[in-house]
Symmetry: C2
Subunit: 281 residues, 2 copies
Protein backbone atom coordinates (compact mmCIF):
# COMPACT_ATOMS: atom_id res chain seq x y z
CA UNK A 1 0.00 0.00 0.00
CA UNK A 2 1.46 3.30 -1.08
CA UNK A 3 0.67 6.36 0.94
CA UNK A 4 3.37 7.87 3.09
CA UNK A 5 2.59 11.49 3.71
CA UNK A 6 5.81 13.37 4.25
CA UNK A 7 4.03 16.54 5.25
CA UNK A 8 2.69 15.05 8.43
CA UNK A 9 4.93 14.74 11.46
CA UNK A 10 6.20 11.28 12.35
CA UNK A 11 4.64 9.69 15.39
CA UNK A 12 7.41 8.33 17.63
CA UNK A 13 7.78 7.02 21.14
CA UNK A 14 6.40 3.89 22.70
CA UNK A 15 8.03 0.69 23.86
CA UNK A 16 11.58 -0.38 22.97
CA UNK A 17 11.92 -3.22 20.47
CA UNK A 18 14.84 -5.42 21.49
CA UNK A 19 16.10 -7.84 18.82
CA UNK A 20 18.11 -10.60 20.47
CA UNK A 21 20.85 -12.00 18.22
CA UNK A 22 19.12 -11.16 14.94
CA UNK A 23 20.72 -13.09 12.10
CA UNK A 24 20.10 -11.07 8.94
CA UNK A 25 20.69 -7.38 8.40
CA UNK A 26 17.69 -7.36 6.05
CA UNK A 27 15.45 -8.38 8.91
CA UNK A 28 16.78 -5.59 11.09
CA UNK A 29 15.96 -3.18 8.26
CA UNK A 30 12.43 -4.45 7.70
CA UNK A 31 11.91 -4.39 11.45
CA UNK A 32 12.93 -0.73 11.51
CA UNK A 33 10.43 -0.05 8.74
CA UNK A 34 7.65 -1.84 10.61
CA UNK A 35 8.53 0.09 13.75
CA UNK A 36 8.30 3.46 12.03
CA UNK A 37 5.02 2.39 10.43
CA UNK A 38 3.72 2.05 13.94
CA UNK A 39 5.34 5.11 15.46
CA UNK A 40 8.08 3.22 17.33
CA UNK A 41 11.70 4.38 17.26
CA UNK A 42 13.60 2.77 20.14
CA UNK A 43 15.41 -0.17 18.50
CA UNK A 44 17.93 -2.15 20.59
CA UNK A 45 20.15 -4.85 19.14
CA UNK A 46 21.75 -7.59 21.21
CA UNK A 47 24.71 -9.18 19.43
CA UNK A 48 23.50 -9.01 15.80
CA UNK A 49 25.15 -11.97 14.07
CA UNK A 50 26.41 -10.13 10.98
CA UNK A 51 27.67 -7.04 12.78
CA UNK A 52 26.54 -3.46 13.03
CA UNK A 53 26.04 -1.10 11.26
CA UNK A 54 24.66 -3.03 8.30
CA UNK A 55 24.24 -1.84 4.72
CA UNK A 56 21.68 -4.57 4.15
CA UNK A 57 19.65 -3.22 7.02
CA UNK A 58 19.67 0.26 5.53
CA UNK A 59 18.66 -1.05 2.10
CA UNK A 60 15.76 -3.04 3.57
CA UNK A 61 14.49 -0.25 5.80
CA UNK A 62 12.79 1.54 2.86
CA UNK A 63 13.45 4.93 4.33
CA UNK A 64 13.17 4.17 8.02
CA UNK A 65 16.81 5.23 8.41
CA UNK A 66 16.09 7.37 11.43
CA UNK A 67 15.21 4.27 13.42
CA UNK A 68 18.43 2.51 12.35
CA UNK A 69 20.57 5.55 13.12
CA UNK A 70 19.17 5.69 16.64
CA UNK A 71 19.51 1.93 17.19
CA UNK A 72 21.70 0.93 20.14
CA UNK A 73 23.92 -2.09 20.46
CA UNK A 74 24.12 -4.22 23.62
CA UNK A 75 26.29 -7.17 24.66
CA UNK A 76 23.48 -8.97 26.49
CA UNK A 77 19.74 -9.03 27.10
CA UNK A 78 20.37 -7.96 30.68
CA UNK A 79 22.17 -4.77 29.59
CA UNK A 80 19.54 -4.06 26.91
CA UNK A 81 16.69 -4.04 29.42
CA UNK A 82 18.46 -1.83 31.94
CA UNK A 83 16.25 1.16 32.57
CA UNK A 84 13.06 -0.62 31.59
CA UNK A 85 10.38 -1.39 34.12
CA UNK A 86 8.19 -3.77 32.10
CA UNK A 87 9.57 -6.34 29.68
CA UNK A 88 7.61 -8.66 27.38
CA UNK A 89 9.05 -11.70 25.61
CA UNK A 90 7.49 -12.25 22.19
CA UNK A 91 7.26 -15.98 21.82
CA UNK A 92 4.90 -18.81 21.05
CA UNK A 93 2.93 -20.77 23.51
CA UNK A 94 3.90 -22.60 26.62
CA UNK A 95 7.52 -23.22 27.50
CA UNK A 96 6.77 -25.14 30.65
CA UNK A 97 7.48 -22.02 32.66
CA UNK A 98 5.18 -20.35 35.12
CA UNK A 99 4.53 -17.24 33.18
CA UNK A 100 1.87 -14.68 32.51
CA UNK A 101 0.95 -14.57 28.81
CA UNK A 102 -0.92 -11.76 27.06
CA UNK A 103 -2.09 -10.89 23.54
CA UNK A 104 -0.55 -7.95 21.63
CA UNK A 105 -3.80 -6.03 22.18
CA UNK A 106 -3.70 -6.51 25.92
CA UNK A 107 0.01 -5.69 26.02
CA UNK A 108 -0.63 -2.48 24.06
CA UNK A 109 -3.25 -1.33 26.54
CA UNK A 110 -0.96 -2.12 29.46
CA UNK A 111 2.00 -0.35 27.90
CA UNK A 112 -0.08 2.75 27.13
CA UNK A 113 -0.94 3.01 30.81
CA UNK A 114 2.59 2.32 32.02
CA UNK A 115 4.30 4.67 29.62
CA UNK A 116 1.80 7.37 30.50
CA UNK A 117 2.96 7.08 34.09
CA UNK A 118 6.63 7.17 33.10
CA UNK A 119 7.38 3.43 33.33
CA UNK A 120 9.50 2.37 30.34
CA UNK A 121 8.50 -0.80 28.48
CA UNK A 122 10.22 -3.10 26.01
CA UNK A 123 9.58 -6.21 23.94
CA UNK A 124 12.21 -8.94 23.45
CA UNK A 125 12.23 -10.70 20.07
CA UNK A 126 14.48 -13.71 19.52
CA UNK A 127 16.60 -14.87 16.57
CA UNK A 128 14.85 -15.78 13.31
CA UNK A 129 15.37 -19.52 13.44
CA UNK A 130 15.04 -20.34 17.09
CA UNK A 131 13.24 -17.58 18.93
CA UNK A 132 14.16 -16.58 22.46
CA UNK A 133 15.88 -19.05 24.74
CA UNK A 134 14.27 -19.77 28.09
CA UNK A 135 16.90 -17.79 29.99
CA UNK A 136 15.91 -14.69 28.00
CA UNK A 137 12.22 -15.34 28.58
CA UNK A 138 12.99 -15.58 32.29
CA UNK A 139 14.21 -11.96 32.20
CA UNK A 140 10.79 -10.79 31.02
CA UNK A 141 7.72 -10.21 33.16
CA UNK A 142 5.30 -11.51 30.63
CA UNK A 143 5.10 -13.60 27.49
CA UNK A 144 3.53 -11.87 24.48
CA UNK A 145 1.99 -14.27 21.98
CA UNK A 146 0.37 -13.28 18.70
CA UNK A 147 -2.82 -15.30 18.15
CA UNK A 148 -2.39 -16.95 14.73
CA UNK A 149 -3.25 -20.11 12.85
CA UNK A 150 -1.84 -22.76 15.21
CA UNK A 151 -0.77 -24.93 12.27
CA UNK A 152 1.22 -22.08 10.68
CA UNK A 153 2.12 -19.46 13.22
CA UNK A 154 5.73 -18.68 12.31
CA UNK A 155 6.30 -14.96 11.67
CA UNK A 156 9.48 -13.25 10.57
CA UNK A 157 10.94 -10.55 12.80
CA UNK A 158 9.41 -7.62 10.96
CA UNK A 159 5.96 -9.21 10.89
CA UNK A 160 6.01 -9.96 14.60
CA UNK A 161 7.07 -6.38 15.27
CA UNK A 162 4.44 -5.07 12.84
CA UNK A 163 1.58 -6.76 14.68
CA UNK A 164 2.85 -5.76 18.11
CA UNK A 165 3.47 -2.22 16.86
CA UNK A 166 0.14 -2.03 15.04
CA UNK A 167 -1.70 -2.90 18.23
CA UNK A 168 0.40 -0.29 20.02
CA UNK A 169 -0.47 2.31 17.40
CA UNK A 170 -4.20 1.66 17.23
CA UNK A 171 -4.45 1.53 21.01
CA UNK A 172 -3.56 5.21 20.98
CA UNK A 173 -5.17 6.26 17.71
CA UNK A 174 -8.53 7.91 17.74
CA UNK A 175 -9.36 6.38 14.35
CA UNK A 176 -13.11 5.82 14.23
CA UNK A 177 -14.01 2.28 13.07
CA UNK A 178 -16.01 3.70 10.19
CA UNK A 179 -16.08 7.02 8.42
CA UNK A 180 -17.63 8.21 5.20
CA UNK A 181 -15.48 10.23 2.86
CA UNK A 182 -17.45 12.83 0.91
CA UNK A 183 -14.98 13.69 -1.82
CA UNK A 184 -15.03 17.39 -1.02
CA UNK A 185 -18.80 17.65 -1.01
CA UNK A 186 -21.06 17.82 2.03
CA UNK A 187 -23.79 15.50 3.15
CA UNK A 188 -27.08 16.54 1.58
CA UNK A 189 -29.62 18.13 3.86
CA UNK A 190 -33.01 16.53 4.31
CA UNK A 191 -34.57 19.42 2.43
CA UNK A 192 -32.32 18.71 -0.56
CA UNK A 193 -33.17 15.02 -0.33
CA UNK A 194 -36.90 15.82 -0.23
CA UNK A 195 -36.51 18.05 -3.27
CA UNK A 196 -34.93 15.14 -5.08
CA UNK A 197 -37.72 12.78 -4.01
CA UNK A 198 -40.22 15.29 -5.36
CA UNK A 199 -38.41 15.51 -8.68
CA UNK A 200 -38.07 11.74 -9.05
CA UNK A 201 -41.63 10.96 -8.02
CA UNK A 202 -43.06 13.73 -10.15
CA UNK A 203 -41.35 12.29 -13.19
CA UNK A 204 -42.38 8.75 -12.33
CA UNK A 205 -45.92 9.96 -11.89
CA UNK A 206 -45.74 11.70 -15.21
CA UNK A 207 -44.43 8.66 -17.11
CA UNK A 208 -46.93 6.28 -15.60
CA UNK A 209 -44.50 4.21 -13.56
CA UNK A 210 -46.49 4.97 -10.42
CA UNK A 211 -49.87 4.55 -12.01
CA UNK A 212 -50.82 1.55 -9.89
CA UNK A 213 -52.45 3.25 -6.92
CA UNK A 214 -52.22 0.13 -4.72
CA UNK A 215 -48.51 -0.46 -5.09
CA UNK A 216 -47.58 3.20 -5.29
CA UNK A 217 -47.11 3.90 -1.55
CA UNK A 218 -44.73 1.01 -0.99
CA UNK A 219 -42.91 1.74 -4.27
CA UNK A 220 -42.30 5.33 -3.17
CA UNK A 221 -41.22 4.21 0.28
CA UNK A 222 -38.75 1.72 -1.16
CA UNK A 223 -37.21 4.28 -3.49
CA UNK A 224 -36.92 6.83 -0.71
CA UNK A 225 -35.39 4.23 1.59
CA UNK A 226 -32.73 3.38 -0.98
CA UNK A 227 -31.64 6.97 -1.44
CA UNK A 228 -31.72 7.61 2.29
CA UNK A 229 -29.44 4.64 2.82
CA UNK A 230 -26.97 5.89 0.23
CA UNK A 231 -26.21 8.92 2.45
CA UNK A 232 -25.94 11.10 -0.63
CA UNK A 233 -23.86 14.24 -0.80
CA UNK A 234 -25.25 17.48 -2.13
CA UNK A 235 -23.12 16.99 -5.27
CA UNK A 236 -24.50 13.50 -5.83
CA UNK A 237 -28.08 14.74 -5.57
CA UNK A 238 -27.37 17.33 -8.22
CA UNK A 239 -26.01 14.54 -10.41
CA UNK A 240 -29.15 12.48 -9.80
CA UNK A 241 -31.35 15.45 -10.70
CA UNK A 242 -29.38 15.62 -13.93
CA UNK A 243 -29.79 11.89 -14.56
CA UNK A 244 -33.57 12.13 -14.27
CA UNK A 245 -33.68 15.19 -16.45
CA UNK A 246 -31.52 13.42 -19.04
CA UNK A 247 -33.94 10.48 -19.16
CA UNK A 248 -36.77 12.89 -19.60
CA UNK A 249 -34.86 14.59 -22.40
CA UNK A 250 -34.68 11.36 -24.41
CA UNK A 251 -38.43 11.18 -24.78
CA UNK A 252 -40.72 13.23 -26.94
CA UNK A 253 -40.57 16.57 -25.19
CA UNK A 254 -43.69 18.28 -24.16
CA UNK A 255 -43.18 21.45 -22.23
CA UNK A 256 -44.23 21.03 -18.62
CA UNK A 257 -41.70 22.84 -16.51
CA UNK A 258 -38.50 24.44 -17.48
CA UNK A 259 -36.34 21.81 -15.77
CA UNK A 260 -38.30 18.58 -15.63
CA UNK A 261 -39.28 16.87 -18.80
CA UNK A 262 -41.58 13.91 -18.66
CA UNK A 263 -40.32 10.36 -19.02
CA UNK A 264 -43.28 8.72 -20.73
CA UNK A 265 -41.34 6.51 -23.15
CA UNK A 266 -38.89 4.97 -20.63
CA UNK A 267 -39.02 2.53 -17.77
CA UNK A 268 -36.86 4.58 -15.48
CA UNK A 269 -37.15 2.27 -12.49
CA UNK A 270 -35.56 -0.47 -14.52
CA UNK A 271 -32.98 1.78 -16.06
CA UNK A 272 -31.91 3.24 -12.75
CA UNK A 273 -31.90 -0.21 -11.18
CA UNK A 274 -34.15 1.12 -8.47
CA UNK A 275 -36.80 -1.55 -8.33
CA UNK A 276 -36.97 -5.28 -8.72
CA UNK A 277 -40.07 -5.19 -10.83
CA UNK A 278 -40.70 -2.64 -13.53
CA UNK A 279 -44.15 -2.25 -14.96
CA UNK A 280 -44.48 -2.68 -18.69
CA UNK A 281 -46.12 0.10 -20.51
CA UNK B 1 9.02 -16.06 15.96
CA UNK B 2 9.40 -19.80 15.55
CA UNK B 3 6.51 -21.98 16.50
CA UNK B 4 4.50 -23.66 13.77
CA UNK B 5 2.80 -26.70 15.19
CA UNK B 6 2.31 -29.21 12.43
CA UNK B 7 0.16 -31.46 14.57
CA UNK B 8 -2.65 -28.97 14.76
CA UNK B 9 -5.04 -28.63 11.83
CA UNK B 10 -4.69 -25.56 9.66
CA UNK B 11 -7.41 -22.96 10.04
CA UNK B 12 -8.67 -21.96 6.62
CA UNK B 13 -11.59 -20.04 5.17
CA UNK B 14 -12.40 -16.37 5.41
CA UNK B 15 -12.33 -13.57 2.86
CA UNK B 16 -10.59 -13.75 -0.52
CA UNK B 17 -7.36 -11.77 -0.88
CA UNK B 18 -7.22 -10.27 -4.38
CA UNK B 19 -3.81 -8.98 -5.49
CA UNK B 20 -4.27 -6.59 -8.39
CA UNK B 21 -1.28 -6.56 -10.76
CA UNK B 22 1.28 -7.59 -8.16
CA UNK B 23 4.78 -6.88 -9.43
CA UNK B 24 7.12 -9.29 -7.66
CA UNK B 25 6.70 -13.04 -7.27
CA UNK B 26 8.40 -12.76 -3.87
CA UNK B 27 5.61 -10.54 -2.64
CA UNK B 28 2.98 -13.02 -3.79
CA UNK B 29 4.85 -15.68 -1.82
CA UNK B 30 5.14 -13.64 1.36
CA UNK B 31 1.48 -12.70 0.99
CA UNK B 32 0.57 -16.40 0.84
CA UNK B 33 2.58 -16.96 4.00
CA UNK B 34 0.84 -14.10 5.79
CA UNK B 35 -2.52 -15.46 4.63
CA UNK B 36 -1.88 -18.90 6.02
CA UNK B 37 -0.60 -17.36 9.27
CA UNK B 38 -4.06 -15.89 9.59
CA UNK B 39 -6.07 -18.85 8.39
CA UNK B 40 -6.84 -17.42 4.94
CA UNK B 41 -6.49 -19.53 1.79
CA UNK B 42 -8.45 -17.89 -1.06
CA UNK B 43 -5.77 -16.02 -3.05
CA UNK B 44 -6.77 -14.39 -6.35
CA UNK B 45 -4.27 -12.82 -8.73
CA UNK B 46 -5.19 -10.23 -11.32
CA UNK B 47 -2.54 -9.99 -14.07
CA UNK B 48 0.64 -10.65 -12.01
CA UNK B 49 3.36 -8.72 -13.81
CA UNK B 50 5.99 -11.46 -13.89
CA UNK B 51 3.63 -14.29 -14.84
CA UNK B 52 2.21 -17.24 -13.00
CA UNK B 53 3.13 -19.74 -11.59
CA UNK B 54 6.23 -18.23 -10.02
CA UNK B 55 9.22 -20.03 -8.51
CA UNK B 56 10.10 -16.91 -6.58
CA UNK B 57 6.65 -16.94 -5.02
CA UNK B 58 7.10 -20.54 -3.89
CA UNK B 59 10.53 -19.81 -2.44
CA UNK B 60 9.20 -16.82 -0.50
CA UNK B 61 6.11 -18.58 0.82
CA UNK B 62 8.11 -20.42 3.51
CA UNK B 63 5.88 -23.46 3.30
CA UNK B 64 2.55 -21.83 2.52
CA UNK B 65 2.50 -23.75 -0.77
CA UNK B 66 -1.08 -24.85 -0.33
CA UNK B 67 -2.24 -21.26 -0.67
CA UNK B 68 -0.19 -20.76 -3.86
CA UNK B 69 -1.41 -24.01 -5.38
CA UNK B 70 -5.02 -22.97 -4.85
CA UNK B 71 -4.42 -19.43 -6.16
CA UNK B 72 -6.58 -18.43 -9.14
CA UNK B 73 -5.63 -16.16 -11.99
CA UNK B 74 -8.01 -13.49 -13.40
CA UNK B 75 -7.79 -11.12 -16.34
CA UNK B 76 -9.49 -8.24 -14.51
CA UNK B 77 -10.69 -7.02 -11.15
CA UNK B 78 -14.26 -7.38 -12.36
CA UNK B 79 -13.83 -11.10 -13.08
CA UNK B 80 -11.93 -11.64 -9.81
CA UNK B 81 -14.79 -10.30 -7.70
CA UNK B 82 -17.49 -12.29 -9.47
CA UNK B 83 -19.29 -14.33 -6.86
CA UNK B 84 -18.43 -12.00 -4.01
CA UNK B 85 -21.06 -9.95 -2.23
CA UNK B 86 -18.87 -7.58 -0.24
CA UNK B 87 -15.62 -6.11 -1.54
CA UNK B 88 -13.13 -3.92 0.35
CA UNK B 89 -10.38 -1.88 -1.28
CA UNK B 90 -7.23 -1.71 0.87
CA UNK B 91 -5.87 1.76 0.36
CA UNK B 92 -4.74 4.85 2.15
CA UNK B 93 -6.85 7.81 2.99
CA UNK B 94 -9.10 9.97 0.94
CA UNK B 95 -9.17 9.75 -2.83
CA UNK B 96 -11.72 12.47 -3.27
CA UNK B 97 -14.38 9.82 -3.73
CA UNK B 98 -17.56 9.46 -1.76
CA UNK B 99 -16.72 6.28 -0.04
CA UNK B 100 -17.26 4.47 3.23
CA UNK B 101 -13.96 3.75 5.00
CA UNK B 102 -13.40 1.26 7.80
CA UNK B 103 -10.53 -0.04 9.91
CA UNK B 104 -9.27 -3.62 9.58
CA UNK B 105 -10.87 -4.40 12.94
CA UNK B 106 -14.26 -3.14 11.86
CA UNK B 107 -13.96 -4.92 8.51
CA UNK B 108 -13.11 -8.18 10.29
CA UNK B 109 -16.22 -7.96 12.43
CA UNK B 110 -18.39 -7.20 9.40
CA UNK B 111 -16.90 -10.02 7.36
CA UNK B 112 -17.39 -12.50 10.21
CA UNK B 113 -21.09 -11.70 10.21
CA UNK B 114 -21.44 -11.75 6.44
CA UNK B 115 -19.52 -14.96 5.90
CA UNK B 116 -21.54 -16.59 8.66
CA UNK B 117 -24.66 -15.83 6.66
CA UNK B 118 -23.12 -17.13 3.45
CA UNK B 119 -22.17 -13.80 1.85
CA UNK B 120 -18.70 -14.08 0.33
CA UNK B 121 -16.21 -11.26 0.99
CA UNK B 122 -12.93 -10.16 -0.56
CA UNK B 123 -10.22 -7.54 -0.17
CA UNK B 124 -8.55 -5.82 -3.14
CA UNK B 125 -4.85 -4.96 -2.75
CA UNK B 126 -3.12 -2.90 -5.41
CA UNK B 127 0.35 -3.06 -6.99
CA UNK B 128 3.39 -2.47 -4.78
CA UNK B 129 4.40 0.91 -6.14
CA UNK B 130 1.13 2.60 -6.88
CA UNK B 131 -1.68 0.94 -4.98
CA UNK B 132 -5.14 0.55 -6.45
CA UNK B 133 -6.32 2.89 -9.18
CA UNK B 134 -9.56 4.76 -8.59
CA UNK B 135 -11.45 2.61 -11.09
CA UNK B 136 -10.63 -0.45 -9.00
CA UNK B 137 -11.60 1.31 -5.79
CA UNK B 138 -14.93 2.17 -7.46
CA UNK B 139 -15.65 -1.56 -7.78
CA UNK B 140 -15.43 -1.98 -4.00
CA UNK B 141 -18.15 -1.21 -1.48
CA UNK B 142 -15.79 0.11 1.12
CA UNK B 143 -12.28 1.39 1.59
CA UNK B 144 -10.20 -0.45 4.17
CA UNK B 145 -7.41 1.64 5.68
CA UNK B 146 -4.85 0.42 8.20
CA UNK B 147 -4.32 3.08 10.87
CA UNK B 148 -0.57 3.73 10.91
CA UNK B 149 1.95 6.51 11.44
CA UNK B 150 0.70 9.12 8.95
CA UNK B 151 4.26 10.18 8.16
CA UNK B 152 5.32 6.62 7.30
CA UNK B 153 2.33 4.48 6.44
CA UNK B 154 3.58 2.54 3.43
CA UNK B 155 3.25 -1.23 3.88
CA UNK B 156 4.37 -3.96 1.53
CA UNK B 157 1.75 -6.39 0.21
CA UNK B 158 2.40 -9.12 2.76
CA UNK B 159 2.33 -6.70 5.65
CA UNK B 160 -0.96 -5.17 4.59
CA UNK B 161 -2.40 -8.66 4.23
CA UNK B 162 -0.92 -9.69 7.57
CA UNK B 163 -2.66 -6.91 9.47
CA UNK B 164 -5.98 -7.44 7.69
CA UNK B 165 -5.68 -11.19 8.18
CA UNK B 166 -4.56 -10.83 11.79
CA UNK B 167 -7.66 -8.81 12.58
CA UNK B 168 -9.73 -11.42 10.78
CA UNK B 169 -8.13 -14.21 12.79
CA UNK B 170 -8.41 -12.59 16.20
CA UNK B 171 -12.01 -11.57 15.52
CA UNK B 172 -12.83 -15.26 15.53
CA UNK B 173 -10.32 -16.50 18.05
CA UNK B 174 -11.36 -17.12 21.59
CA UNK B 175 -7.86 -16.23 22.84
CA UNK B 176 -8.23 -14.67 26.29
CA UNK B 177 -6.31 -11.40 26.63
CA UNK B 178 -4.32 -12.81 29.50
CA UNK B 179 -3.56 -16.28 30.77
CA UNK B 180 -1.09 -17.66 33.29
CA UNK B 181 0.95 -20.68 32.28
CA UNK B 182 1.80 -22.94 35.20
CA UNK B 183 4.60 -25.01 33.72
CA UNK B 184 2.87 -28.29 34.39
CA UNK B 185 2.15 -27.48 38.01
CA UNK B 186 -1.17 -26.39 39.47
CA UNK B 187 -2.10 -23.20 41.26
CA UNK B 188 -1.43 -23.61 44.95
CA UNK B 189 -4.46 -23.95 47.18
CA UNK B 190 -5.06 -21.42 49.91
CA UNK B 191 -4.29 -24.10 52.49
CA UNK B 192 -0.89 -24.64 50.90
CA UNK B 193 -0.29 -20.92 50.84
CA UNK B 194 -1.24 -20.61 54.51
CA UNK B 195 1.14 -23.45 55.34
CA UNK B 196 3.88 -21.49 53.60
CA UNK B 197 3.00 -18.30 55.47
CA UNK B 198 3.19 -20.25 58.71
CA UNK B 199 6.60 -21.64 57.82
CA UNK B 200 7.98 -18.27 56.76
CA UNK B 201 6.59 -16.35 59.70
CA UNK B 202 7.65 -19.00 62.18
CA UNK B 203 11.21 -18.72 60.97
CA UNK B 204 11.13 -14.94 60.93
CA UNK B 205 9.77 -15.03 64.45
CA UNK B 206 12.52 -17.40 65.45
CA UNK B 207 15.35 -15.30 63.99
CA UNK B 208 14.10 -12.05 65.44
CA UNK B 209 13.08 -10.36 62.18
CA UNK B 210 9.55 -9.89 63.52
CA UNK B 211 10.61 -8.90 67.01
CA UNK B 212 9.19 -5.37 66.74
CA UNK B 213 5.63 -5.92 67.92
CA UNK B 214 4.38 -2.62 66.50
CA UNK B 215 5.54 -3.14 62.95
CA UNK B 216 4.97 -6.88 62.92
CA UNK B 217 1.31 -6.90 61.78
CA UNK B 218 1.95 -4.71 58.75
CA UNK B 219 5.18 -6.57 57.95
CA UNK B 220 3.32 -9.88 57.92
CA UNK B 221 0.51 -8.41 55.83
CA UNK B 222 2.97 -7.06 53.26
CA UNK B 223 4.79 -10.35 52.95
CA UNK B 224 1.54 -12.26 52.59
CA UNK B 225 0.30 -9.77 50.01
CA UNK B 226 3.41 -10.22 47.90
CA UNK B 227 3.12 -14.00 47.81
CA UNK B 228 -0.61 -13.83 47.14
CA UNK B 229 0.05 -11.53 44.19
CA UNK B 230 2.62 -13.91 42.73
CA UNK B 231 -0.13 -16.51 42.19
CA UNK B 232 2.28 -19.29 43.16
CA UNK B 233 1.96 -22.84 41.97
CA UNK B 234 2.16 -25.77 44.32
CA UNK B 235 5.64 -26.53 42.94
CA UNK B 236 6.84 -23.00 43.57
CA UNK B 237 5.65 -23.11 47.17
CA UNK B 238 7.63 -26.28 47.69
CA UNK B 239 10.66 -24.48 46.28
CA UNK B 240 10.08 -21.56 48.65
CA UNK B 241 9.79 -23.92 51.63
CA UNK B 242 13.17 -25.29 50.56
CA UNK B 243 14.64 -21.80 50.25
CA UNK B 244 13.63 -20.93 53.79
CA UNK B 245 14.93 -24.21 55.13
CA UNK B 246 18.21 -23.68 53.31
CA UNK B 247 18.66 -20.27 54.93
CA UNK B 248 18.01 -21.83 58.26
CA UNK B 249 20.58 -24.52 57.50
CA UNK B 250 23.35 -21.96 57.01
CA UNK B 251 23.13 -20.87 60.61
CA UNK B 252 24.25 -22.59 63.72
CA UNK B 253 21.77 -25.42 63.91
CA UNK B 254 19.80 -26.02 66.96
CA UNK B 255 17.20 -28.75 66.75
CA UNK B 256 13.68 -27.34 66.83
CA UNK B 257 11.64 -29.23 64.31
CA UNK B 258 12.72 -31.80 61.81
CA UNK B 259 12.05 -29.56 58.83
CA UNK B 260 12.40 -25.96 59.94
CA UNK B 261 15.71 -24.70 61.20
CA UNK B 262 15.94 -21.28 62.72
CA UNK B 263 17.32 -18.30 60.79
CA UNK B 264 18.82 -16.29 63.59
CA UNK B 265 22.03 -15.25 61.86
CA UNK B 266 20.44 -13.93 58.64
CA UNK B 267 18.28 -11.05 57.52
CA UNK B 268 15.97 -13.13 55.40
CA UNK B 269 13.68 -10.28 54.48
CA UNK B 270 16.59 -8.50 52.89
CA UNK B 271 18.03 -11.59 51.28
CA UNK B 272 14.73 -12.64 49.75
CA UNK B 273 14.04 -9.10 48.62
CA UNK B 274 10.72 -9.29 50.36
CA UNK B 275 10.66 -6.01 52.23
CA UNK B 276 11.83 -2.50 51.64
CA UNK B 277 13.22 -2.08 55.10
CA UNK B 278 15.07 -4.85 56.94
CA UNK B 279 15.70 -4.53 60.62
CA UNK B 280 19.27 -4.72 61.74
CA UNK B 281 20.06 -7.26 64.36
Amino acid sequence: MAGTNHRRPAVTGGPAIILVEPQLGENIGTTARAMLNCGLDDLRLVRPRDGWPSDKAIAAASGADTVLQKARLYPSVATAITGLIHVYAATTRDRGMVRREVTPRHAAAEMRAWLASGEACGVLIGPERTGLVNDDVALADTVLTVPLNPAFSSLNLAQAVLIIGYEWFVSGAAAPPEILHRGGSRRASKQELLNFFNHLEEELEENGFLRNRDSRPSMVRNLRSLFQRAQCTEQELRTLHGVITSFAGQRERRPRTKTFDSLRSLKPGKMLGLVDRADDE
